[in-house]
Subunit: 465 residues, 2 copies
């Protein structure tokens, strides 16, 4: 009996000691992030010196070069560029739109082309409108009512959902598939209400796809600001014959070469177990991409730097990956996963920050129950930093292609209330990122990476052979 | 045995049923706040039509009239104004300051008078500087080194504290007592680093007091922006003889009459048990007081409206109180408590929102252990709304004078990271308040008020007579 008690006490002591060590290391990380963090300076450069970084643009290339140079300066074990072919879509001259209730009586409305859309004819496009709240209404209306018209998708994000990402998911089909679906019924264009919970004058772009619509049947697609959508909808109720004019001259070019930017610290004990922390380096072109996803990039970069600076020597290999082309192709994420598979690399944990640079609230995990249970045991360590949310859920678009049954994927979950005010719009800019909020995010990420580095993951259940 | 089991099952069923009812009512409140909330519209008026509402100002009076009229329109059982005499301090013409490293070589810096400060002489004040990190350094320096100088208090807020309110508490003695203390050693003025975690160009005002310093010994006190403080400190290291020029013509007038604005719904079962939800209607004069504390006012007003609109009939009397003069006197809070004591009113619960209109994270409670334990049982009801923080702690300045051993006091705890970027400064303005964040705060408050109304409080332990 005595021996057992002693053994239990010993175990307990080890556990308490480990917890205290972990608490100390996490405290160091937060302290460093809040006093000597680099994330905000890096973001300042990315946003204010470079700006919007759409795949294939000069700015995207500048961002590759800048972040590589910064990683080079951190004294990591290896920094490299992974080539990847990306689509190149160019917005062209600013879009222009108005609606006309009677000849000569017109009202301008703020619009922007959706990413991937075709242009209007050179002289613009003018047609009657038909307002719908979703794709499923198209079939009911049929070709007779849609042919020759511009379809106006006007289902707003649901304000009663506490997670604004959930509200976004409930709407984004209009933006992504609206044009392809409306074209089937002879529509000549689509106007989509911006994915924005606020009423304001910013149109929000974002990716759209034509699916298997033949090239000659593709119709232009643009977003309208939420205020514009409200006004247009009210006008249509008064005058269903309102005409809409849209002009945009965006264009899809051939794919061009770009890069994922990668840096790593080699693990001292288990170098073959790889941990990835990442975000996407490309952004839309309207703002400067500070929240989406400059914030995630600079936080990911700072994770490696913070671990280093606090004197921590990782047991496992820790990589920062700045993925190219999340916004309109996911080529970088797919390319990285292909490489990992081809090289039979063993990724045990991947963490993405792609939900804005706001105050971190927690993480969502895509993993086995056994791993999730272990992670729950770490919650207490985060409570002093007001990180409460440890839930199962989505991780991130760029790391998802890495997914396998054994590993753990995770996403940082910042406060989401303001995110869609800025998402893909002209007002996604540096001044809307708060330095402390950004740094707290970086510290939370570094702390989680530290724990996965130290304790590894619970291996998947082996079937007895 | 059987009977006991049945009894327990019955109790359990009642408990589960109550929990479900509560969850449903809280869901209704959130839904209503996020779709038909009035808080944002009210704040728009307070901030953009009225503006900064310093006690004794025309704007403060306009705010009294506006909020009373709005409460009148809600169909409450009673709405009234409680007269209270308040101090009237007026800033006067914009302050002006520069430092001079050699004659003719000067640099302007942004300053503002601290609330309650005396003016400089008409032609301004020019003197050498002595920089300190805190009041305790004054004694060490002594009269010899301080006499005839301007004391520059430059201890920054501690960025490593996760709660920015804690960082504020650790600094604010410089602002409040710096002048009174420095005057003891013959200083001719004080310049205080703004209570702001960000480096920027906004000076932040706030209350200061002269204690028992005789009128003729009172010296002017001003805040300098954080960027200004950094620059001044660096300059002093290079040139300790740098001269500082300050001009301000603020003035304290005689007290004037103002009002607390009060509205109530009479309780249907226990009308003598009173619940207060409140905030302060006055603000500083530099911005429009949107976060401090317009947000809290409109949230408190919406609590009563939301309860009404969701069809809830309160058992207890629920009062909204918009307190006058929190910023520079607390006269409204004290007056309200005096009235409550004089009338022997039984306040069981008071909730204040005075920490900004940001995403609510939870509440802090000032109450007995028995009450705190019961409150912990409500945590689960708030989790779907990402409200995680239920801690013991400070409630709010205006409701604190009500405190007694029996009652529960509470404060809304919004995310605090951005709060001091705006606090008492020119950039505490409407556009920095997010509609959803504000509404989520109102919904959280209404939900907590609902629970206290329904279940009351645990009465204080009676001593057997």
């Amino acid at each position: 009996m005595k021996k057992q008690v002693l053994f239990i006490l010993l175990l307990l002591a080890t556990y308490v000691h480990a917890q205290t060590d972990d608490a100390k290391q996490i405290e160091k990380i937060y302290r460093m992030a809040l006093t000597e963090g680099k994330a905000y300076d890096w973001l300042n450069h990315l946003s204010n010196q470079i700006g919007g970084r759409l795949s294939g643009s000069v700015q995207a290339q500048q961002a590759v070069e800048y972040t590589k140079a910064q990683l080079d300066s951190l004294g990591l074990d290896r920094v490299w560029l992974q080539p990847v072919m990306v689509p190149k879509w160019v917005r062209g001259t600013p879009e222009f739109a108005y609606f006309e209730t009677s000849p000569g009586l017109s009202t301008n409305v703020p619009v922007c082309a959706l990413g991937g859309s075709v242009a209007t004819p050179l002289g613009g496009l003018k047609a009657g409108l038909i307002e719908v709240k979703g794709i499923e209404e198209l079939e009911k209306l049929g070709t007779e009512k849609i042919k020759g018209k511009i379809v106006f998708f006007n289902r707003p994000m649901d304000p009663t959902l506490i997670s604004t990402f959930q509200a976004y998911s409930g709407c984004v089909d209009q933006r992504y598939s609206g044009a392809a679906e409306a074209a089937k019924y002879g529509a000549v264009g689509v106007i989509v209400r911006s994915m924005n919970l606020r009423l304001d004058d910013y149109p929000h772009t974002g990716s759209m796809g034509y699916g298997d619509t033949p090239v000659d049947k593709r119709i232009p697609a643009a977003a309208i600001s939420t205020n514009g959508a409200e006004l247009l909808s009210a006008t249509l109720k008064l005058n269903p014959n309102t005409q809409f004019y849209l002009k945009q001259n965006c264009k899809q070019f051939d794919d061009v070469e770009s890069y994922n930017v990668i840096g790593e610290i080699k693990g001292s004990e288990f170098p073959d177990e790889i941990i990835v922390v990442g975000a996407h380096l490309d952004s839309w072109d309207l703002g400067d991409g500070s929240h989406d996803d400059g914030a995630g990039c600079v936080q990911s970069m700072d994770v490696l730097r913070l671990l280093r600076k606090t004197g921590y020597r990782p047991k496992r290999t820790i990589r920062v990956v700045l993925f190219m082309n999340e916004e309109n192709g996911l080529r970088g994420g797919n390319k990285y996963a292909d490489m990992a598979n081809n090289k039979k690399e063993n990724h045990i944990f991947a963490l993405e920050s792609d939900a804005g640079g706001f105050t971190p609230r927690g993480f969502s995990f895509d993993c086995s129950d056994a791993n999730f249970e272990r992670i729950q045991g770490w919650k207490k360590l985060f409570e002093p930093y007001l990180i409460h949310l440890f839930v199962k859920g989505y991780s991130g678009a760029d790391i998802r292609p890495l997914k396998n049954d054994g590993m753990v994927l995770a996403g940082l979950r910042p406060d989401s209330q303001r995110y869609f005010d800025h998402h893909h719009a002209e007002n996604d800019t540096f001044e809307h990122v708060n330095k402390r909020e950004l740094e707290l995010g970086a510290a939370s990420m570094a702390s989680l990476v530290y724990l996965f580095d130290k304790y590894g993951i619970v291996p998947p259940q082996k079937i007895k052979g």
